[in-house]
């Protein structure tokens, strides 16, 4: 009887231990979100709707201003990143799924996935050397290319999975109709795998909106003027947060919190859409 008691006590203890540790592990998420809501919320309330389109304040200003250029920059960077990254991810995924026996397809598949292992800061540094140095200035396009390289493996993986998991019966049906590979792909396979493909795009967007390190040495953080051209500096919300948080000015910290709220909303928006589309998300 005594032995049984010990087993049951151990079982209880284990259960509470697991629950307590789990709650502790999840707590930071709520803490972070609450902090951003409280601090960011107060900034945004103070600045009003103009927070979304005004440029940021000067360090000693009392007026919060806004993050207009950075928000616009983030939206533009998200767009260009997808324009550059999606075709690469999509067509290499098609190559891998439709020509699984080709050595090139296999090799490029491994290569694309391995981009995930390159630290994002290193991607920023490399794009700096390849693009910023020769061009002589920071640019939106350099940032977008860096972000595209960061998002590439995520988009590729999701699109490849989506295409590869099209049930065999539909492949046979498509080819049984006499459709060639491109016709079957564009008219049938893409339609059947559309959720997975859109999920891939959304993950690309999530990365493009939230990554900071690839932008450190590529876009130049031009946060007082709005879009000037693809070959000109631009800003992004994550970079603004990163740089403003490290300044000694209170007003900049306030702006950083407000920007964090906007970034959080963008991220949660993308995530929620993703969740509605697919069951499993790998970020």
């Amino acid at each position: 009887m005594k032995r049984l008691d010990r087993r049951i006590i151990m079982d209880r203890f284990f259960k509470y231990l697991v629950i307590v540790i789990s709650l502790i592990a999840l707590m930071p998420l709520f803490y972070i979100i609450t902090s951003i809501l409280v601090h960011g919320g107060s900034t945004v309330l103070k600045a009003g709707i103009s927070f979304l389109y005004e440029p940021p304040p000067s360090p000693l200003s009392t007026n919060v201003g806004g993050i207009g250029p950075s928000l616009l920059g983030t939206i533009l960077l998200m767009t260009i990143t997808i324009i550059i990254g999606l075709p690469l991810a999509f067509f290499t995924a098609v190559l891998a799924v439709e020509y699984p026996n080709s050595i090139i397809a296999k090799f490029v598949g491994i290569l694309t996935r391995s981009f995930i292992e390159i630290p994002t800061i290193l991607i920023g540094v490399l794009v700096y050397t390849i693009m910023v140095l020769p061009m002589g200035r920071f640019s939106a396009i350099a940032g977008a290319i860096a972000l595209a390289l960061v998002s590439l493996p995520y988009m590729y993986t999701h699109i490849e999975n989506a295409l590869a998991s099209i049930p065999w019966i539909y492949r046979e049906a498509a080819y049984g109709l006499g459709l060639t590979k491109p016709k079957a792909l564009f008219h049938i396979f893409m339609g059947i795998a559309r959720r997975g493909i859109v999920a891939g795009i959304l993950i690309g967007l999530a990365k493009a909106s939230g990554e900071t390190a690839p932008l450190l040495f590529t876009i130049g953080g031009s946060r007082h003027s709005y879009f000037q051209g693809l070959d000109k500096p631009i800003d992004a919300i994550p970079l603004l947060i990163y740089e403003f948080a490290q300044t000694p000015y209170n007003i900049y910290h306030e702006v950083a919190w407000g920007a964090a709220l906007i970034l959080l909303l963008i991220y949660l928006g993308v995530f929620a859409t993703l969740r509605l589309l697919v069951k499993k998300v790998e970020l």
Partner: protein
């Protein structure tokens, strides 16, 4: 006898340029990386990774010397602490989600974990620097130092909230969802027959979970290695909370550097010096090698484990 139809070949050729672009980008990145890091390896040899000297000079490039021992040690040290903290949390979360949470809440918790995994790192950094680090200093670091000063890692007085300890804890928070997802996938992949067998011998839940966890040991190891790769490469949140200084101390309550935070902090000014860019590239190269090695081992273990599961 089977020849590839012409239209298939044409489509293949139409797709090749995309593969070609990916391939050439990769080669270009590799070339730039090697080209720019070779000079420092040639100039300083092993000294580059075994010494802790950071001596830039704008005027006299001959006296410049760069040794990244401190960031290398810092990278391993913070990653190690982060993983030690994250592993029990990840295992607990896995067990929690699979064994204790009522089914309809499971999806909610899993969603929360995934939200955490993808949250922009700069948000972790911002929260870490302004909210969490001061708390950590007052309520964890100071007491630890007061009561456990005789343990070397707690031996110094925390003077600033930005320390290696802070960065480690934040990294642990950030990597927990990732490690959890790897472990959870393995846990859920255990075939039903084993589960039934374990339950069939009259185990309590604790004993049952212990058996299940023993079964996925290789996957847990792989998760840790993969997590290490992630943690070592993380830049933004670390550079916002680690204090960014060259120190070589056992004590966790001092500011430090990791390779990635070193690059983040120094690369912007490196152009003013003759050798610093090379040094930072060299550091990046070493970071990449560390990451690739750990990841490859992790993936290898994971693949082998999955295979063994299929075979039995």
């Amino acid at each position: 006898m089977t020849s590839i139809p012409r239209s298939d070949k044409l489509f293949f050729y139409a797709l090749l340029p995309f593969a070609g672009i990916v391939l050439s980008i990769f080669i270009l990145l590799l070339k730039i990386l090697v080209e720019n890091s070779l000079p420092i390896f040639i100039r300083e040899g092993l000294g580059f990774i075994t010494s802790n000297i950071w001596r830039p000079s704008e005027t006299n490039s001959r006296i410049e010397y760069y040794g990244i021992l401190s960031p290398i040690v810092g990278t391993f040290y913070t990653s190690l602490i982060a993983l030690i903290l994250a592993l029990p949390a990840s295992i607990a979360l896995t067990v929690f989600v699979n064994e204790y949470v009522p089914h309809r809440f499971k999806i909610l918790i899993v969603n929360l974990i995934e939200v955490m995994a993808g949250l922009p790192t700069v948000l972790y950094g911002l929260w870490g620097a302004f909210i969490f680090a001061p708390l950590l200093k007052d309520y964890v670091m100071v007491p630890l130092n007061n009561y456990f000063w005789f343990i070397p890692i707690f031996s110094c007085k925390p003077t600033t909230p930005s320390t290696m300890f802070t960065a480690s804890v934040i990294l642990a928070i950030m990597v927990t969802p990732f490690i959890t997802s790897v472990i959870r996938e393995a846990y859920e992949a255990i075939p039903l027959s084993y589960r039934e067998a374990a339950l069939g011998i009259g185990t309590t839940k604790y004993e049952y979970v212990k058996i299940m966890l023993t079964m996925i040991k290789p996957a847990i190891l792989a998760a840790v290695l993969l997590g290490f790769g992630r943690v070592a490469g993380e830049t933004i949140a670390v550079s916002m909370t680690i204090g960014n200084s060259f120190s070589l101390s056992m004590c966790l309550f001092e500011p430090g550097y990791t390779i990635s935070s070193l690059i983040a902090n120094q690369f912007g000014n490196a152009g003013f010096y003759h050798y610093m860019t090379y040094a930072l590239y060299g550091a990046g190269f070493i970071l990449l090698i560390i990451g690739l090695t750990l990841n490859s081992i992790g993936l290898y273990i994971l693949v082998r484990w999955r295979k063994s599961l299929e075979e039995t």
